[in-house]
Symmetry: C2
Subunit: 173 residues, 2 copies
């Protein structure tokens, strides 16, 4: 069976609750998946690929230790698209994880864009809404640091929502 | 920080899609969590409990091998409550997992009811709706078997939705 997979980090409950307070109003994906930092964008696979993929993800998880990341401000991908997000400051481990997850040996192919780690709080807004929301959120002070010790492999259901297939613990596989 | 935790099995994507086709109309929790078989109902814990809990769950997962379960019909918990569900036939591993997860040494206390493994497809219906939906679904032929090789520890966000904390692989921990 064909499946759509994705690989993400779920931040702390506190940060998810904070992000959801905006997503509820500004992100139509609010009910489909918890707030997350995408490590590998949705890609196609067969159910039969899961076994080799999960053993590859275990190896990648083992290679990296738990790390902290810092959120510094609200930004937007406009005019590329109307996504408003919390910017994750440049981070060696995140970059290395993203690179490892896009090795040729791993299903899913090359990323469409350069890796800009972020936590989406609004998307699919009209230009007018986007400008309005971005202008008001931009004034918000963001200065949050937390640690990450795991990432998750998800698959998408027919209704567009995502279910977790497996968790991978950094430093443990 | 206080958290609400739960332990569940997510069935196959195919079965989740099937359950969601009913949940979409009949279950107000549709957008809060994917279709699941509950092994341990929501319980309170502190964030600091997670470390010992996850190591206990690893030990429990290691003890049990992957297994199959069979769904045989549509049933209801009415008049206890108006939950309509797909009945999971009596299953040794499910019963043993449920018992292990309710040992005194594990946070969360004793279950309120006896364990009736099920996959909810409708709930919080009025009596009238319940009778209507149950009568029509009861006529549906259900005969589905599949294997389970993992369970998940979840935590609840402020908006009522659930995020996966960790996956535990049966026979592997």
């Amino acid at each position: 069976m064909n499946m759509k997979l994705g690989i993400v980090i779920f931040p702390s409950k506190k940060l998810q609750d904070f992000a959801n307070s905006y997503r509820k109003r500004y992100d139509p994906h609010y009910a489909l998946v918890p707030p997350h930092i995408t490590l590998k964008s949705p890609f196609d696979a067969e159910e039969g690929d899961l076994k080799s993929l999960t053993s590859q993800l275990e190896e990648i998880a083992i290679k990296h230790q738990p790390f902290s990341f810092h959120l510094s401000k609200v930004k937007t991908f406009h005019p590329l698209n109307n996504v408003i997000y919390l910017k994750v400051d440049p981070n060696e481990t995140l970059t290395a994880l993203n690179e490892d997850l896009h090795e040729d040996s791993i299903i899913g192919g090359k990323p469409e864009y350069g890796f800009v780690p972020h936590l989406t709080i609004g998307q699919k807004l009209s230009n007018l809404e986007h400008d309005d929301v971005y202008n008001s959120l931009q004034m918000m002070d963001v200065d949050h640091e937390e640690t990450v010790d795991r990432f998750h492999l998800l698959y998408q259901l027919e209704n567009g929502s995502w279910t977790v297939y497996e968790t991978f613990l950094l430093g443990k596989g």
